[in-house]
Amino acid sequence: MIRRILPHPVLSLLIVLVWMALVNRFAWGSLVFAAILALVIPWLTAPYWPGSPRVRGPLRIAAYLALVLWDIVRANIEVARIVLFTPNGDLRPAWIAVPLDLTSPEGITALAATITLTPGTVTADVSQNGNALLVHCLHAPDPDAVAADIKSRYESRLLRIFS
């Protein structure tokens, strides 16, 4: 029953939050309009979402976001040091193939976005059958260590969220 009215409850909640943040101050009229949007938009876009991705553990997601934010700050300082002080001759850019254990498309997208947002690494491509990501590193003297780090630090956590 609730599935028929709200095919994507999380999307509906997100729409309400985004709309209220856009309005930037609380008003009951805005909340009513946000509720209407939260009902209509998921209903109109339902054909593009054949099934909802199953995401587990709001606490795990919050912990993952905190970890990523912390890593972005750390990696920014690291990359700033490389840009300012490492001469081009000592720079070791590398392509890395990261094999994936994740199978859910949403999970792979989240991992690719995380890798790109963390300075020093950029996701460039996915393999034809989706079993690996191609990552470019700004400075990686030891490419295998970077791949292992991505798998243990991000992918293992995403595996538990997108199960």
């Binding site: 199978t103 790109t116 034809q128």
Partner: protein
């Protein structure tokens, strides 16, 4: 109290500006297009992030009105920045790299999507997902 907040706002603005400057300098000095791609990702994360924190602090601490637009900017940036990075990397792979210069993905006859013409072995059509189902089987 207000002076303290103003100091914090100023500090965050300087930090954000500094990281944006380093990102721009990275565009100038790094050797090729792929490494230059790493510059803007810095400016887009910590540079913009610090300026947004400064803006939130200012509206909260100095003006006394909470402001939520900064959180939205963060959200939209985090959703869109990887897509542009992905497009730039893909265009660059087409223009100046060949498949032999890049380590192949695991699996026989498997290639990166940029270089291959068809879905790889074992890919098949995407399975129809049941409502509430997930991912590939």
């Amino acid at each position: 109290m207000t002076t303290l907040v103003q100091l914090l706002v100023a500090a965050m603005l300087v930090i954000g500006g500094g990281f944006a400057l380093v990102g721009a300098w990275a565009l100038v000095r790094l050797p090729d297009a792929m490494t230059r791609l790493h510059g803007p990702t810095k400016a887009a994360t910590l540079g913009v992030g610090a300026v947004l924190i400064a803006s939130m602090l200012y509206f909260w601490g100095v003006r006394g009105v909470p402001s939520w637009h900064e959180l939205l900017i963060t959200l939209f940036l985090f959703v869109t920045a990887p897509v542009t990075g992905f497009f730039l990397a893909k265009a660059n792979m087409h223009l100046s790299w060949t498949a032999s210069e890049i380590p192949p993905p695991p699996g026989n006859g498997n290639d990166w999507a940029t270089f291959g013409d068809e879905p790889g072995p074992g890919a098949g059509p995407l399975p129809a997902r049941k409502p509430g189902g997930h991912g590939r089987p």
